[in-house]
């Protein structure tokens, strides 16, 4: 019996196996088709995702721009209102909005008009045809007094350019010479301040302290005082004198709380604690 069973079982199973084998092959073909379609679809989805990523990035970029513009616009309106208030208070023209007169330009030769390149007849010249002297220079009236003024201003400008170019020794000499002329009072404190900056730039912190102290003591109403005090603090900071550095930074914070330097000094005070 057992022997018969052993023979019969495979014979019974064989047809089933054959039938199932045919069915499985067809299913395999179907499965392959489906997999191929899925792969294609997956690639398409990946491409769509990449496009969306790019679009989102562009939109983000645009949003940042719009936000910046909106902020600019809103604060422009706020400052326009403040400027009108200032103009009414001081009787000045409100052409240029807000802010303290920290520009040397405001204090000296006035704001130069924009130079649009023009020929001798006043016609606007296209690019490629510009000739030398297209810029608007500062006022050069013909009397001798103005000429001398320009010469003294030239001493200051030359010294400033020397400083910008890193020729600090020359710059210091130039500013000292300008100060000796005693002219253009509105630039005297600037010149003294730049002497301090030049000394600071070459690492002569002790001498820079002295120079900046002159700014504070001899020009107490000038616009360079907060910066000078801050720089004295920085000189002591570089000299590792924390006590003196803190004292001067504190003087900026306490004496000129609304200045740019006050906020900077606060950061340095945090460093020193």
């Amino acid at each position: 019996m057992e022997r018969k069973t052993k023979v019969l079982i495979p014979l019974v199973l064989l047809p089933f196996t054959l039938l199932n084998g045919c069915a499985t092959h067809k299913d395999v073909l179907n499965l392959e088709d489906r997999m191929s379609t899925s792969e294609k679809r997956e690639k398409e989805i990946q491409q769509e995702v990449a496009s969306l990523d790019s679009l989102i990035s562009e939109q983000t970029d645009l949003l940042y721009s719009i936000r910046a513009e909106l902020r600019t616009g809103l604060e422009s309106v706020t400052r326009d209102m403040e400027a009108v208030g200032e103009a009414v208070k001081y009787g000045e023209r409100a052409d240029y909005t807000g802010g303290p007169l920290t520009s040397e330009t405001d204090q000296t030769i006035g704001v130069p008009p924009v130079s649009v390149p023009r020929d001798e007849e006043g016609t606007v010249v296209a690019e490629g045809e510009l000739t030398p002297g297209g810029s608007v220079s500062q006022d050069t009236t013909e009397n001798a007094g103005a000429g001398e003024l320009n010469l003294k201003r030239a001493i200051y400008d030359t010294a400033y350019l020397d400083m910008v170019r890193g020729n600090y020794e020359l710059a210091i000499q130039g500013f000292e010479q300008f100060i000796e002329t005693g002219s253009q009072k509105e630039l005297q404190d600037n010149a003294q301040y730049w002497i301090g900056e030049s000394l600071y730039s070459v690492g002569k912190h002790d001498e820079a302290i002295t120079a900046f102290q002159v700014v504070v003591e001899e020009y107490p109403r000038g616009n360079k005082v907060p910066a000078a005090l801050f720089k004295i603090g920085k000189c002591y900071y570089e000299l590792n004198d924390s006590e003196e550095a803190s004292r001067y930074f504190q003087s900026v914070v306490g004496g000129y709380p609304h200045s740019e330097e006050a906020k900077l000094a606060t950061e340095y005070l945090s460093d020193l604690r």
């Binding site: 920290t102 030769i109 390149p117 297209g134």
Partner: protein, 437 residues
């Protein structure tokens, strides 16, 4: 007016230079033409070979372009008739050519010979003063095809250095952003517009490239990871790494002249402000605290001051401050929009973009840092993103004057224009430093 004077005396020698140099003064004219008359001869082919004529033409055109672009010289060529006759029997024409230069009144002329040896082109040049035929420079160059243009640019640089003591910019590059692939990617081209190649391929938005002062890396903003972060591309290894990623905006990076610090704009503390980060340590310090937007920092050539854009007074204007954030003062009052300042390497000027109230176009302006005089140097289309060449004589910028935005260069006084790109919406040029090797 920008004037550069350099007197060459017998004290100056270059390797391979013959004795008996002449004294020549070189000045920059304000119209962009130098006062030294400089003659350029096509190279004589000493041994005909395949494609050597083509390479001779390339060398001639590069030399002419580089010397004119340097603004140091009034460059002249031989008359067409003489040029064509010298090709047939150059040795007989030598005296005739020298006489032609004398008649033209050139101060200096360059002549040379080109041949092919194995896989390299050999070019031997001499720099001569026609009055005495004394040689100022004598040098030989070897160039494979793949770096032929680079070698000829180096030749131009050597000539400029021999004449002026200053480094030419023929071998500099301009990085820029281009949308030609469909995304804003970072690209690079030679300063004459040749050899354009794509540096990034992240299919995102990439912005505001800036070179390291050593010419080996470019820092730029990218939305690659979803946020505007700062990345650094290494030109030598062609690799990119993320450098700074604070919440919000990380942008407008500018490397200090000594390479130790980077000024940048971050909005992590609220609105966009300017910060300085120490490059190697990552230590960061805030410089501006205004209620407005402060951005686009650009260093003075000494690295002691920074110019930037701020709308703290209501409308965007150009300001200057000490590099520690103190002593802020306003520099410009042009129209209602002044932005994107770029400090000239010569220190005396700052280029910026301005928009006048009545005209509406954006134009390039240059402000003198001492007199505060302002000069407009563009007049067609919208012109944005100024950056200076490393010699301070040219400004690269993006303009839509011919339709789409492309990169152009213009001389410091707006006199001479040159187009760098011709397709694909191109912005934000950044001029590489001079590479001395």
């Amino acid at each position: 007016m920008l004037i550069v004077s350099c007197v060459l005396a017998a004290l100056y020698f270059l390797p391979g230079t013959a004795a008996g140099q002449e004294e020549i003064k070189v000045k920059i004219g304000s119209s962009g033409r130098g006062e030294v008359r400089f003659g350029v001869e096509p190279f004589v082919i000493t041994a005909p070979s395949d494609k050597i004529e083509q390479y001779r033409q390339i060398a001639y055109s590069i030399l002419l372009w580089d010397l004119r672009f340097s603004l140091r010289f009034d460059v002249d060529e031989l008359d067409d008739d003489l040029r064509s006759r010298m090709y047939t029997d150059p040795s007989k024409m030598r005296k005739e050519r020298s006489k032609a230069w004398l008649d033209k009144g050139v101060d200096v002329f360059v002549r040379g010979e080109i041949s092919k040896e194995d896989l390299e082109y050999k070019i031997a040049i001499t720099l001569n003063g026609p009055a005495s035929e004394a040689r100022i420079l004598e040098k030989t160059y070897l160039a494979k095809r793949s770096d032929f243009r680079r070698v000829i640019h180096q030749m131009s640089n050597d000539i400029i250095y021999a004449m002026t003591g200053e480094h030419g910019i023929g071998r500099t590059s301009i990085a820029f952003i281009s949308k030609r692939t469909g995304n804003k990617e970072l690209f690079l081209a030679d300063c004459d517009g040749f050899n354009e190649k794509r540096l990034t391929g992240n299919r995102s938005i990439n912005l505001s490239p800036a070179w390291s002062p050593f010419g080996d890396e470019i820092i730029f903003t990218s939305f690659r990871d979803g946020n505007p972060d700062l990345f650094i591309f290494n030109v030598l290894s062609n690799s990119t790494r993320k450098y700074i990623s604070y919440p919000g905006i990380n942008s407008a990076a500018s490397w200090s002249p000594d390479g130790k610090e980077i000024a940048l704009t971050l909005s992590k503390d609220g609105n966009p402000e300017i910060y300085i980060v120490e490059f190697w340590t990552g230590k960061i310090r805030r410089l501006t605290y205004s209620k407005g937007i402060d951005t686009s920092p650009s260093w003075s050539p000494t690295g002691k001051e920074i110019t930037f854009t701020s709308d703290r007074a209501g409308t965007p204007a150009i300001y200057v401050m000490s590099k520690d954030g103190s002593n802020v003062r306003r520099l410009t009052f042009v129209g209602n929009y002044n932005a994107s300042p770029a400090w000239s390497p010569l220190g005396d000027r700052i280029a910026f973009v301005g928009r006048s109230v009545d005209e509406g176009n954006t134009d390039l302006y240059v402000v003198d840092v001492t007199s505060k005089d302002v000069m407009r140097i563009s007049a067609i289309g919208d012109n944005v993103d100024p950056c200076w060449s490393p010699d301070g004589y040219h400004v690269a910028f993006a303009s839509n004057r011919n339709g789409a935005y492309d990169i152009y260069t213009i001389t410091w006084d707006g006199a001479k224009l040159h187009r760098i790109t011709y397709s694909g919406q191109n912005y934000s040029p950044a001029w590489s430093p001079v590479m001395l090797k």
